[in-house]
């Protein structure tokens, strides 16, 4: 592991003349003596650099992939440092243990966790830097730091003032304080204020550097021909035509296929097109998604591994006044990040240097070290802006990074592997196909009193290093989240949730909001079906069931009220509701839809109420909710991957369709002030939109659509 010690960091900052570099590291073992108060400084580290030129550089332990932490984490530092916001710069941190995720112990970005997990660490970093600047000023003025105050990048004493830049070098020599007191929230000046993004200037001028944009003179571009069937292997290949193409320098075999290495993308592509490969497809060639769904349907009739149980649902069901049975299914989905995957690798002198946009630095380091045959601390990762992540750049197997290291190793030159859109759509690591079968018994008041729920779909975590933490008693938490912890189920006296996790060659992965993508669809559609079965208004019905859940209730009522629930919608339109908690946040949505003469569904308005605890940057929260709704709507209205004979039938945006601007509804976002524990915001709003739209379509047409994407008969 790379142990960037404080001294090394200070040395580096000295070499660069950078001034104050707060790289405080509280060794875990150093605190062997128990703290009397039980209160400890935030465990690992936080980084902020104050330079003599007045710039304040924030080092980002996580990856910016659109979610806005480039701005949000800087706001946390700035709040406590009291610096001039216009002087803030942000950089991705290198891959090193000191940047490990506070909750997960490895450097990564995912699970909508960055902001809440860094809330204390980054504020503390800012506070410590401020304390050191104050001490430096006190030494300069020969006074007590307690008599000084700070304002917008200056330390003040009466009418005297010293800028942070003037104090930067002297502050660096100060001992970091042993403890700092963070501001009371009523004194916040930055946190909670709508703040525009810091990465806008480079992103609107084309200057922002993504992995795809990495260039240096000796870097070559490689395209890899991968098996058309998952798990297939190369039997033999003929590269003679490929190597005759101008610009193609070599063709090498790697575990995932055959790589064409060229001076530029176009030559590599033409070279790859000219390859003749004999594939051994293996058992994956039998996968047919249509037949697979039917097999899931059959499995759902049988009891799986128990994920949650209370009372005896099977015994109770026959005693219900009314029974409702429904099956919901969702297809495989690709993430289709706008920036196709890519990874540049240079192997030299026992070091492996990587330039890429990744969500999983530590896992990538480990994989690269293994393949390159170098110690992990000799693998450096230069994280570039990510052209979208949505989970795809967080593969436990580090698929695209591992492959790039293999190619660079085989080719013996620095190489950037580039995926085409076709490679991306057909490259696996999909949101898995899932089917839910739910049987609910209602009592004479129309309330559910028996609930039998069977879920069928591939486990994301099985076979990964995360299996030991997140698969308990054969149940992958990512397959059942949103069902086993559903607030509706809590009050159902007899309930049984079981899971079937078939193993298949198709690689699957987390996709924005993970299990909630299908569980929220199933749960919130079912609750709507129950409301109609009980002849109750869907808002009243939910409100009655959620009577003991004040946060859900408030979100639901806010969304309904702002959407005009109870008032007639415009002619030809209807509204549907859904509320779902995921990643620690609660989102309620009211969707307003119409159906045209071609039976196409149009979503006009989505009114969202959001309770994520404290909203650090409301402008960013709004953007994430709008974006998450759009991401979800692609899956609700358009996107679907199918496999036949083990081959993915779609290949690019013409047949794997995603939401475009004309289909974007007006998304109104109402943030509910809440002192609840802070939750995530990147993912939660993707989950309920499917049910909100399906429920609206039902209200309009009385057709209950239980398959995504929604298609009217």
């Amino acid at each position: 592991m790379i142990a960037l010690t404080r001294r090394e960091l200070l040395r580096k900052s000295l070499l660069s003349g950078a001034g104050l570099f707060v790289a405080f590291h509280v060794p875990r073992k150093a605190g062997a003596v128990p703290q009397p108060s039980g209160k400890q400084l935030p465990d690992p580290n936080a980084f902020v650099r104050v330079a003599p030129d007045e710039t304040v550089t924030v080092l980002l332990a996580h990856s910016e992939m659109g979610q806005g932490i480039w701005t949000g984490l800087a706001m946390l530092i700035a709040e406590e440092l009291d610096c001039d916001w216009s002087k803030i710069r942000v950089e991705h941190a290198p891959a090193a243990p000191v940047y490990a995720h506070p909750a997960f112990g490895m450097q990564m970005t995912g699970g909508s966790t960055t902001t809440w997990s860094e809330f204390d660490r980054y504020r503390t970093a800012g506070a410590m830097a401020r304390a050191m600047l104050l001490r430096a000023a006190a030494a300069r003025w020969k006074t007590d730091a307690k008599r000084l105050r700070t304002e917008n990048g200056f330390v003040l004493r009466g009418n005297d003032r010293l800028s942070y830049g003037q104090l930067a070098v002297a502050a660096q020599a100060q001992t970091p304080p042993k403890s700092v007191k963070l501001k009371d929230r009523k004194n916040w000046k930055i946190i909670g204020k709508p703040t525009r993004r810091l990465d806008t200037p480079e992103k609107i001028t084309g200057k922002a550097q993504f992995g795809m944009d990495v260039r240096f003179p000796e870097l070559r571009t490689a395209l890899v021909a991968r098996s058309p069937v998952f798990g297939g292997k190369v039997r033999s290949f003929d590269a003679s035509k490929a190597t005759s193409i101008k610009g193609v320098e070599q063709v090498v075999q790697v575990p995932s296929g055959v790589a064409v290495v060229a001076t530029n993308f176009w030559s590599a592509k033409l070279g790859r097109d000219a390859l003749v490969i004999d594939w051994d497809p293996g058992p994956g060639a039998s996968v047919d998604s249509g037949k697979l769904l039917e097999s899931y349907r059959a499995q759902a009739q049988t009891k799986g591994t128990v994920a949650a149980q209370q009372g005896d649902a099977e015994e109770a069901l026959p005693h219900s006044s009314k029974r409702v049975v429904a099956e919901y299914d969702v297809p495989y989905l690709a993430h289709a990040t706008m920036e196709p995957l890519n990874c540049a690798v240079r192997l030299a002198d026992g070091h492996c240097e990587i330039w890429t946009g990744t969500q999983f630095q530590t896992m990538d380091q480990m994989s690269a070290a293994r393949i390159a045959g170098v110690p992990q601390e000799n693998v450096s990762i230069h994280t570039q802006f990510l052209g979208g992540g949505f989970g795809r750049r967080a593969t436990p197997a580090s698929d695209f990074v591992s492959e790039a290291v293999h190619v660079a190793k085989a080719a013996g030159v620095p190489v950037k592997t580039v995926w085409t859109r076709e490679d991306d759509i057909r490259g696996g690591y999909y949101r898995p196909m899932f089917l839910h079968r739910i049987e609910v018994g209602l009592d004479d008041k129309g309330r559910p009193f028996a609930w039998k729920h069977t879920i069928v779909g591939q486990s994301i975590l099985a076979g990964t290093p995360f299996e030991q933490f997140m698969v308990k008693n054969g149940v992958d938490s990512a397959s059942v989240e949103g069902v086993v912890d559903s607030p509706y189920l809590e009050s159902v006296p007899a309930r049984l949730v079981t899971l079937h996790s078939p193993r298949l060659e198709v690689p699957v992965l987390w996709w924005r909001s993970v299990g909630n993508t299908h569980t929220a669809f199933a749960m919130e559609s079912m609750i709507d079906e129950l409301a109609w079965a009980a002849r109750r208004d869907p808002l009243d019905y939910r409100s009655a069931l959620l009577a003991d859940k004040p946060r859900h209730l408030r979100a639901l009522k806010t969304a309904a009220e702002k959407a005009g629930w109870g008032k007639a919608p415009p002619k030809g339109r209807a509204r549907g509701l859904a509320v779902h908690e995921s990643f620690g946040s609660i989102i309620a949505q009211a969707a307003e839809v119409s159906v045209d003469e071609h039976k196409e569904i149009h979503v006009h308005k989505v009114t969202c109420a959001v309770d994520c605890g404290t909203a650090i940057n409301p402008l960013g929260v709004e953007a994430q909710v709008q974006g998450a709704v759009a991401f979800g709507l692609s899956a609700v209205l358009q996107s679907e991957l199918t496999l036949k004979d083990g081959r993915v039938e779609q290949s690019n945006f013409h047949d794997y369709e995603v939401l475009r601007l004309p289909d974007m509804p007006e998304v109104a976002v109402h943030i509910i002030e809440s002192d609840a524990k802070m939750g995530g915001i990147g993912e939660p709003a993707t989950a309920p939109i499917s049910a909100a739209v399906a429920n609206a379509v039902y209200a309009l047409t009385k057709q209950r659509l239980r398959s995504l994407p929604l298609r009217l008969a």
Partner: protein, 153 residues
């Protein structure tokens, strides 16, 4: 061959069939123009040719001739084009990868149609995909750039 890019005549050594996108990115090092799909489906590669929005990923460089090519790098040197300013004011970007293409499409639209209706905006921007889902703010930014231009005249 010769290529006029952002007002400068450039000597380019590239095969005739190489798409303009890859000439810009791999030969000239202008990486602001993005690769997204390679078949004119997503708009990430949008540039202007004589002011018209064109998908550079499917245009063979030999077809450009002596027409003027403008990329995001040439739209303004400092982000001061009215469309870029509107993008900043509306806080549009998220991951940012599609935004050069979005901005080039919007700039071409407003150059030809300074007062587009909402429907015309939808139509002109339909070819540019954004997976982060920034569409609502894109719409607002295009409207606001148009109304600013009106006010300035």
């Amino acid at each position: 061959m010769r290529l006029n890019v952002n007002g400068t005549e450039r000597q380019v050594d590239a095969p005739d069939d190489m798409p303009l996108l890859w000439v810009l990115r791999d030969v000239l090092g202008l990486t602001g123009t993005k690769f997204g799909c390679g078949m004119a489906q997503c708009g990430a590669c949008t540039v202007h040719i004589e002011g018209q929005a064109v998908r550079s990923c499917v245009l063979p460089v030999s077809a450009v001739g002596n027409r003027m090519v403008t990329t995001i790098e040439g739209l303004s040197s400092d982000g001061s084009h009215p469309v870029q300013r509107a993008w900043a004011e509306q806080d549009v970007v998220q991951c940012g990868y599609c935004q050069p293409g979005q901005i080039m499409s919007a700039a071409a639209l407003l150059a030809q149609n300074p007062e587009p209706t909402d429907q015309e905006i939808d139509l002109a921007m339909a070819g540019n995909i954004c997976r982060c889902g920034t569409y609502q703010r894109i719409r607002e930014a295009v409207r606001s750039a148009a109304s600013k231009r009106r006010a300035e005249r």
